[in-house]
Symmetry: C2
């Protein structure tokens, strides 16, 4: 770590080098412990040196987001809009999964970065090429929400960690704790219901990838149905 900093010290700073170091630091220690001072130290540089290349911390975060979004595999041309969207979303999920802080960072910024806009634009293009009206495409993009970028909101996942004390850093989701099970019987009943393979009796947690694809397909199937019946917002043909 220290000798690496020594090696890098003489190579000149650049926006790109700063962004890559910031991503690596957030990957390693979490976004909440990423600070300008901290990042500067990793780069063997005085904190103020960073401000030559990024205006402030918000711009740094925007840049980091676009590094991650830039890792998403380009779309594979396919006649079928549904398969194209599905593969691209799963590619986004792979990229975002490599950087666990990225999803929350994207949601926290109240303005989309150029990289996110480019991604959304190309995805809209897939729907349009598939024959979707601008009207339906608009609503469909809203309905997909952040799922279009490969992440869901982890709200329900947080319940699996309900009894966790958070002392020993990140760890796999624990089983639903007994005292919570008594107070929340319905949650306890379904917590163990998703053992997709019989071997996972000890850790009854569910398969995140399965859940994601389940929700994605639920949405895509519904979208396909609306598209087939030429749905418009003025008169629902349901």
């Amino acid at each position: 770590m220290a000798e690496q900093a020594d090696v890098l010290r003489r190579t000149p700073l650049s926006r790109d080098r700063i962004l890559r170091a910031a991503v690596a630091l957030a990957d390693a220690t979490g976004i909440e412990s990423l600070s300008m001072r901290n990042l500067a130290q990793d780069l063997g540089v005085v904190p103020m040196a960073l401000y030559k290349h990024v205006a402030n911390k918000d711009e740094l975060l925007d840049g980091m987001i676009d590094v991650v979004v830039g890792e998403i595999d380009p779309p594979v041309p396919d006649a079928d809009w549904k398969r194209t969207v599905r593969l691209r979303v799963l590619a986004a999920r792979r990229a975002l999964s490599r950087h666990p802080w990225a999803a929350l960072a994207i949601e926290s910024r109240n303005t989309a970065t150029p990289g996110v806009l480019a991604y959304l634009d190309s995805t809209v293009g897939v729907f349009r090429a598939g024959g979707f009206s601008t009207d339906l495409t608009h609503h469909v993009m809203h309905a997909m929400g952040s799922r279009i970028l490969g992440f869901s909101q982890e709200l329900f996942d947080a319940a699996r960690r309900a009894g966790r004390s958070g002392a020993t850093g990140p760890e796999p989701a624990a089983a639903f704790p007994p005292e919570a099970a008594a107070r929340f019987p319905h949650l306890a009943a379904i917590a163990g219901a998703a053992s997709h393979d019989e071997a996972s009796v000890v850790t009854p947690g569910c398969d995140d990838q399965f859940e994601f694809e389940f929700a994605l397909d639920l949405l895509l199937d519904g979208i396909e149905r609306l598209h087939r019946q030429d749905w418009t917002s003025t008169g629902r043909a349901s």
Copy 2:
């Protein structure tokens, strides 16, 4: 503001009074400017006095979340699970909408609060009472994601603010800016496509409530279809 603090100064501090003041402060000035020092000043109290009632800032945030979740109208008994879920989710949306900081706060905490767990538990109960298997209920809860608490992820919304400079504080979503329209033609094409009423030509933004209900119904319709065909995770009957 100052005379209000004077009046409150002699009424004794309590966890409840702290939480309500924190919610009010976050509502008024945003969650990012809520600090312990700041909140203490609003209460006419020295910062350290707060620590008698909340262990730390994280616990304060958890308490604030449960104040908001506690404002959700209780479920209305109805024979129809679909209508029950729909009404409850829309009730959650109304409560969360009154506190714009709450959605992100809930997502940021990596453990569910007791109030959120209670809400999820009762919602699971609605599905179970409607005849859903534990298996399907589990996946369905994941698929709904944070939408079950009445908020979506605003990812696509951020695109509408793409050209915004953020200088003058919170403001309604601006029209898609011209220079962005050139770079992201597909987004520009659908940005204006959602004028639900003809009067909104000047501000072509879309109707958030419509988009939310569109997505909610898309999910509920898909869920109903799976339920009708007795879907199980082992053999998809699609």
